[in-house]
Amino acid sequence: MKLKLLPFFLIIMLVGLIFGGGNTKPAFAEERPLLLPAPVDCSTCCKKVNLYPGIDVNNLMQIKYIIKYTKFAKDQESVGNFVMIDRSGLKRTRKWQRYRVILEKDGLDYKDLIVLTEPQHIKGLAVLTWMYLDPNRERDNWIWLPSQRKIRRASPAEDDDAAFGSDLTTEELTTRNWSSETYKFVKEDATFAGYTSQYTGKTYYKNTPSWVVEATPKRKPWYYSRRTLFIPKDIGAQVHDDVFDPNGKKFKDILRTYEIRDNGCIPMNYVECVDHRTNHTTAVEIEWIRFNSGVDEKLLSPKALMRTKW
């Protein structure tokens, strides 16, 4: 045995380094500006999304992703709570803090750090993600393991895996981008009937003028065949998804609510996902979120994970 296996591993490493170095230019479909500049005298203001009259479905969906990943701002900080409710009503929670810096330079799209602060058994668990502008380039992940007090370069979870044990997949939470799907308008002048949350009991966005878009994944076979999005005309991002399985049967409802702020920022402040196959619900409550507070990019590096005390 001795050193004979070493060349084999070195070859595998070399293959990894060669294949891992690729970074092609991202594909953009926009022809008109989708973001309008923020007022120069306002440091906390966000860029405003440009929902121009007659917007086509591809630009509308680009705006949707701008809002989803808060690209109207330079950075964000937030605190929130995952609540997972099973069919018996048992609730489990995950409290988190999140930091994100939008870069859109040097091939990097944004850097995102999420730190779980409760419950105690996963306190300190942190995931750092670097997303790249090239939609074909896989993200980089680091994870802080409190049980070992050790950082690990993590193999990215598969896109159809449940994120943090919730009903949202990794793709739905972080990795889906504009080029993942093809789009068509189902209706350009619809009225969304509203959606009643299973968790809060409230009805959201009742009788709201909306676009209705059908999104079909390019990846086939995939865990869903299509989804129908309801996008209010004053927001530009969907408030509700109907998600259909490969047999065409609806299996998921996803609700998203937004706060439209005077300074142009449009934070998502609540997400709820109900999986009808398991009758399991996930609610993501965002306690607070602030933008353009000057989050330093150095804090979204492996070093930041090593600061963790737990």
Binding site: M1, K2, L3, L5, L6, F9, L10, I12, M13, V15, G16, L17, F19, G20, G21, G22, N23, M84, D86, R92, T93, K95, D106, G107, E118, P119, Q120, H121, K123, D134, R137, E138, R139, D140, N141, P146, S147, Q148, R149, K150, R152, R153, A154, S155, P156, E158, D161, A162, F164, G165, S166, H280, K298, L299, S301, P302, K303, R307, K309, W310
Partner: protein
């Protein structure tokens, strides 16, 4: 025992509080500046094969406190106390009860430091853990803090690492580049369980069985004494350890570290016999005063680590990682018996030795490395493979064989291990199975399955086991009688 019962009572009270739907989150006081959290845990392990006895009935209480002085400064401390009932109920461990059954000395103060954080400069001063490296199941670069090996390497690394008093400074001159400097005036070394403990290294068992116990038996018939002497380095600046690490990420995503540690390596012991007398019988031990002297070498560690996520192409989603350590000037024990300080006598053989040294200690260089590959296969099944090799630059010294520290078997130049870890989750991450397979090319095995179940947010249960196979003289095989199944219950607050 009473303390253990007190821990259980405290735990029961906490559980009652939880059932009364009292808020289960960590406690925030003083305008949220002070946060208190912690856990109560029971770990029970049973040996089903050999002894059919409890290996561990350990109850642990841990309290963590963080006080934020302002946005930059904070104070953090961890208190921990444990009591292990296995030393009360298992007669095999009775001799070590006083040493191992509960938290000793100041070990209750697990961590205690003042912390300063800013984007470019971090300073942490006090008792803390510092971790280098990324290997699973074995420690290559993770040597800044020594390890409490009373449970071999089976315990959580965060729990088995021995925190040290030190100064840690991290300076980031660029976005992804960080220089870490460590100054460690505190002397600590790995803790090995004495003979007669649940996980005693075979070399300690042999020492007890072949030397210490026979000497004590023979003492009534002749002149034999035995003592142990640890030659700990004195507290001085020149005996301090220090380390430096440069961490950076290249534009293609290759993350690397370059590491240097000037610190203490593996201790080795040899037996010095004075007032040497004749052997009482053929091949018996010489009469004399036996002292086992342990020496702690100052070593230089040079190493590097790297990780790379493959982001495109057919291997997308694969992570490759590795670490390499070169340790210069380490101690290693050798075979041999040296008779010294002869004096003349008026009878045959006309000169006799008055001193002897049994076992030698020689300087060696160690090379250790691990190469690993991680990949999610089929949605949420993570497979992790490692190739590990431990190399020593020589296996004999002046015709005497070097000995493998954990087992006292003859040292091989190469020790090669392969590991595979498979982990996944079910029921929205409520059930998390995980299994580590470890194979050594001396035909030694370890298999460690584990399943965790989240009963409630703050109540977790885990069951698992550790199984060992191999010859006595091998790293894993020496524990072949120590198979265990275990159960953990942890209540967090």
């Amino acid at each position: 025992m009473r303390k253990s019962i007190a821990l259980f009572v405290a735990g029961a009270c906490l559980l009652l509080l939880s059932s009364a739907k009292v808020a289960q989150a960590s406690l925030s006081l003083l305008d949220n500046k002070l946060t208190l959290s912690g856990f109560l845990k029971n770990e029970t392990a049973y040996n089903p094969n050999h002894d059919r006895e409890f290996m561990k009935i350990e109850n642990t209480f841990q309290l963590e406190a963080e006080y934020m002085l302002n946005d930059r400064f904070s104070f953090f401390t961890i208190f921990r106390y444990f009591y292990d009932n296995a030393f009360d109920v298992n007669p095999l461990f009775e001799d070590n009860r006083s040493r191992l059954h509960r938290t000793r000395g100041t070990d209750w103060l697990r961590e205690c430091y003042l912390n300063y954080e800013s984007p470019s400069l971090d300073v942490r001063i006090g008792k803390q853990q510092v971790v280098w490296g990324t290997a699973d199941g074995i420690k290559i670069m993770d040597v800044v803090c020594p390890t409490d090996q009373r449970e071999y390497l089976l315990d959580n690394y965060a729990d088995s690492r021995i925190p040290r008093w030190m100064l840690k400074i991290e300076y980031s001159p660029k976005v992804n580049g960080t220089l870490q400097f460590l100054f460690i005036p505190d002397f600590e070394t790995d803790y090995y369980a004495p003979a007669g403990s649940p996980f005693t290294y075979y070399s300690f068992t042999l020492l007890q069985k072949d030397l210490i116990d026979p000497l004590h038996q023979l003492a009534s018939n002749g002149h034999y004494t035995f003592d142990e002497n640890h030659q700990y380095p004195g507290q001085s600046f020149k005996n301090s350890s220090f380390g430096v690490r440069w961490l950076d990420i290249l534009p293609n995503g290759l993350e690397y570290t370059l590491n240097y540690l000037h610190g203490y390596g593996t201790f080795a012991g040899n037996v010095h016999i004075s007032n040497l007398g004749p052997q009482q019988f053929t091949n018996g031990p010489y009469q004399g005063d036996y002292v086992l002297k342990y020496k702690y070498p100052m070593t230089q560690l040079l190493g590097f680590t790297f990780t790379k996520g493959i982001n495109s192409g057919p291997l997308t989603g694969t992570t490759v990682r590795g670490e390499f350590a070169y340790i210069h000037n380490n101690n290693n024990k050798t075979e041999g018996l040296w008779l010294k300080d002869y004096i003349s006598v008026p009878f045959y053989p006309y000169s006799v030795p008055t001193k002897a040294i049994y076992y030698g200690i020689t300087k060696v260089d160690n090379y250790k490395y691990v190469l690993g590959i991680d990949k999610y296969i089929v949605t949420n099944w993570l497979a992790s493979f490692q190739f590990i090799q431990l190399v020593t630059n020589k296996t004999s010294e002046n015709g005497n064989n070097l000995l493998f520290g954990p087992t006292n078997a003859r040292l091989n130049k190469y020790y090669t291990f392969l590991t595979t870890r498979i982990s996944t989750d079910f029921m929205h991450e409520r059930i998390k199975p995980d299994c580590l397979f470890m194979y050594g090319t001396l035909n030694e095995w370890r298999i460690s399955p584990r399943i965790e179940y989240e009963v409630r947010d703050y109540l977790n249960v885990a069951v698992g086991g550790h199984m060992f196979w191999g010859k006595r003289g091998t790293l894993l095989g020496e524990f072949r009688d120590n198979d265990e199944v275990y159960c953990e219950i942890k209540y967090g607050f």
